[in-house]
């Protein structure tokens, strides 16, 4: 049960049950879609960028608890952040869930997002946690192509992902 309770933490279940910022943004400056064809999870991320500051961020989609909660918590974490801060958080989050050794993991810098650290023990689910974040990354890049976190295994490399 240890592994499971690490994976399905209270905060994750809460965001799954009541996703925050689950809506479209009229006149969004950036939109990108994440879609994992093998499992069917989908997340569309909407951004309202005002002078490189995320004035508003939202998402819509369907998927498992991990992907929905991850998208929801991402929107909460990023509202009001600058583009650079958002990219930095994306990198940190990615390193945390994949357990990338080349980057020190500082859970305190991730705040509530640290709830996803347990997912490292469930390699096949890493792609779920990453989906909305990779859509965000594409949105910030102005990439309109649908991105996936499925190519090349349970967690594709960053470059492969963002090239969609």
């Amino acid at each position: 049960m240890t592994g499971l309770s690490e994976l399905y933490q209270e905060v994750i279940l809460d965001h799954n049950n009541s996703p925050r910022n689950f809506r479209e943004i009229d006149g969004a400056t950036q939109i990108a879609e994440g879609y994992n064809p093998l499992c069917g999870d989908r997340a569309v991320v909407y951004l309202q960028l005002d002078n490189d500051v995320i004035g508003d961020i939202s998402f819509q989609g369907s998927g498992c608890a991990i992907s929905i909660a991850s998208a929801s918590m991402m929107t909460v974490s990023l509202k009001g952040k600058t583009r650079t801060e958002a990219e930095d958080l994306f990198q940190r989050f990615h390193s945390m869930v994949t357990g990338a050794a080349d980057r020190a993991i500082e859970p305190q810098a991730l705040g509530k997002l640290a709830a996803f650290s347990g997912i490292r023990e469930f390699p096949v689910r890493v792609k779920c946690a990453n989906l909305a974040w990779h859509a965000l990354h594409a949105a910030l890049d102005g990439n309109r192509e649908t991105v996936s976190t499925e190519e090349g295994g349970s967690d594709a490399t960053l470059t492969a992902d963002v090239q969609g």
Binding site: L4, L7, Y8, L13, G40, C64, I66, F122
Partner: protein, 424 residues
């Protein structure tokens, strides 16, 4: 060269007993003694691939240890013996399906390749612009996409037999779809996502009244039902070895000899020719015309061993036991509050697809996996079925004759655990 000829091997041996003993058959499958995540393996993903009995594993080992050689070419001892073993396996498959002749049995990589072969060989020769291909709403992607590719190539189009809320095809609607534009009907015998057994004999009779040939996707049916291609009068029947307790990478396309003879080769290469010059190549006879290149020799022989094994256990006994087990599983799983069974046809086998209210199938799958229970979650390569039932994914427990009521009880316990984790 040993020709497949007209010999059909008798595969029906006396049953080991007239009673089915699940504990006895479980001992034949070494993997069932494995523990996963510290718990006894409960393998309920048989529709994805089945486990292999010891005799199949030993057959592969024996082949590579003592018999390996290329077939249909060598004049040496080993080649002759390997050729004989491979052609014996073909004859066993012919007997298993009750085909009229061994040359109607084409070894392929699996069901998918069998369907692609028919779409590209039969389809490109006999199907043209404005022609129609009838599929059903419950097809696996492997019986959709090859036909879509053909449609793009020749300008034909697909017509789809709808189904009701239980997952049963609407035969009246099917009859209305048939016209003189219809050139082929391709339907699954047993739905991988719903478990529905389709009235395939009736479907074939109706098509034949319009002079239309029928391809049956038998990937899920062969492990659970006795299939008699002559009684069904089907024109093509495709299945995979690995779902029938045999190795991966080998499968079978049965085709009526008259149809196969009229079809051009699917792939070119060695073994499928009679003579080659740069000006002209003469093709080999059936079945070799469709078997270019060195085939999966060990796989074919392993599949023959699997068919022998299944015949010894007794497919009738297997079917009866699985029916009882599915009924039990349906009863106990459907009484869990929040569970909805997807696929409630009257005629079903082997498959229990369900959704749990408020919990995505992948989360169900992860939690069950922690209990050592292997199921499939997702769209089961049948996205149109998911769309028809308005669900993104289902959790699917699929049964084999080595599964037990105790394993079904473990599944029920684990579903309750999912509900606890999600506070449902």
């Amino acid at each position: 060269m040993t020709q497949a000829g007209n010999t059909i091997m008798q595969t029906v041996r006396p049953d080991r007993s007239t009673r089915f003993d699940v504990e006895e058959v479980r001992r034949d499958f070494p993997i069932l003694r494995e523990k996963v995540r510290g718990k006894p393996l409960v393998y309920l993903d048989n529709a994805a691939t089945s486990q292999k009995p010891q005799v199949v594993i030993e057959t592969l080992q024996k082949y590579y240890s003592r018999e390996n050689a290329n077939i249909h070419r060598g004049i040496h001892f080993l080649s002759e013996r390997a050729t004989q073993a491979y052609e014996d396996a073909r004859a066993k498959v012919g007997g298993f399906l009750n085909a009229a002749e061994s040359r109607e049995i084409i070894f392929v990589r699996g069901t998918t390749e069998g369907i692609n072969l028919v779409a590209q060989s039969y389809g490109r020769k006999f199907i043209g612009e404005e022609d129609e291909i009838i599929l059903s709403a419950m097809e696996h992607h492997s019986n959709i996409v090859p036909w879509q590719i053909l449609c793009e190539q020749v300008g034909a189009r697909l017509r789809i037999i709808p189904m009701n809320d239980d997952g049963e095809l609407l035969i009246d609607e099917y009859e209305r779809l048939l016209s003189d534009r219809t050139k082929v009907v391709a339907v699954t015998h047993l739905s991988n996502a719903l478990g529905t057994i389709n009235p395939i004999k009736q479907i074939i009779q109706i098509a034949h009244r319009h002079g239309v040939p029928v391809l049956v996707d038998g990937a899920q049916a062969v492990p659970h039902l006795k299939v008699d291609v002559r009684n069904l009068d089907c024109d093509f029947y495709a299945f995979s070895g690995h779902k029938l307790y045999g190795p991966t990478g080998v499968g079978v396309l049965y085709g009526k000899a008259s149809l196969l003879d009229a079809m051009p080769p699917y792939q070119g290469g060695g073994d499928m020719i009679r003579s080659v010059t740069f000006e002209k190549t003469l093709y080999n006879v059936l079945p070799y015309k469709f078997e270019a290149g060195t085939p999966n020799i060990a796989g074919g022989i392993g599949l023959g061993a699997a068919i022998d094994y299944l015949s010894q256990v007794g497919l009738d006994l297997v079917a009866a036991y699985e029916r009882e087990l599915l009924d039990y599983a349906t009863d106990v799983v459907s009484t869990i509050t929040g569970v909805q069974i997807i696929g409630t046809a009257k005629e079903k086998a082997g498959i229990l697809s369900f959704v749990l209210e408020g919990v995505h199938a992948h989360d169900v799958g992860t939690i069950l996996d922690q209990e050592g229970i292997a199921i499939r979650t997702g769209h089961h390569c049948a996205m149109p079925v998911m769309q028809r039932f308005g669900v993104p994914a289902t959790a699917r427990a699929s049964l084999a004759f080595y599964n037990t009521k105790e394993e079904v009880d473990a599944l029920v316990g684990a579903i309750h655990k999912v509900k606890r984790v999600f506070g449902r």
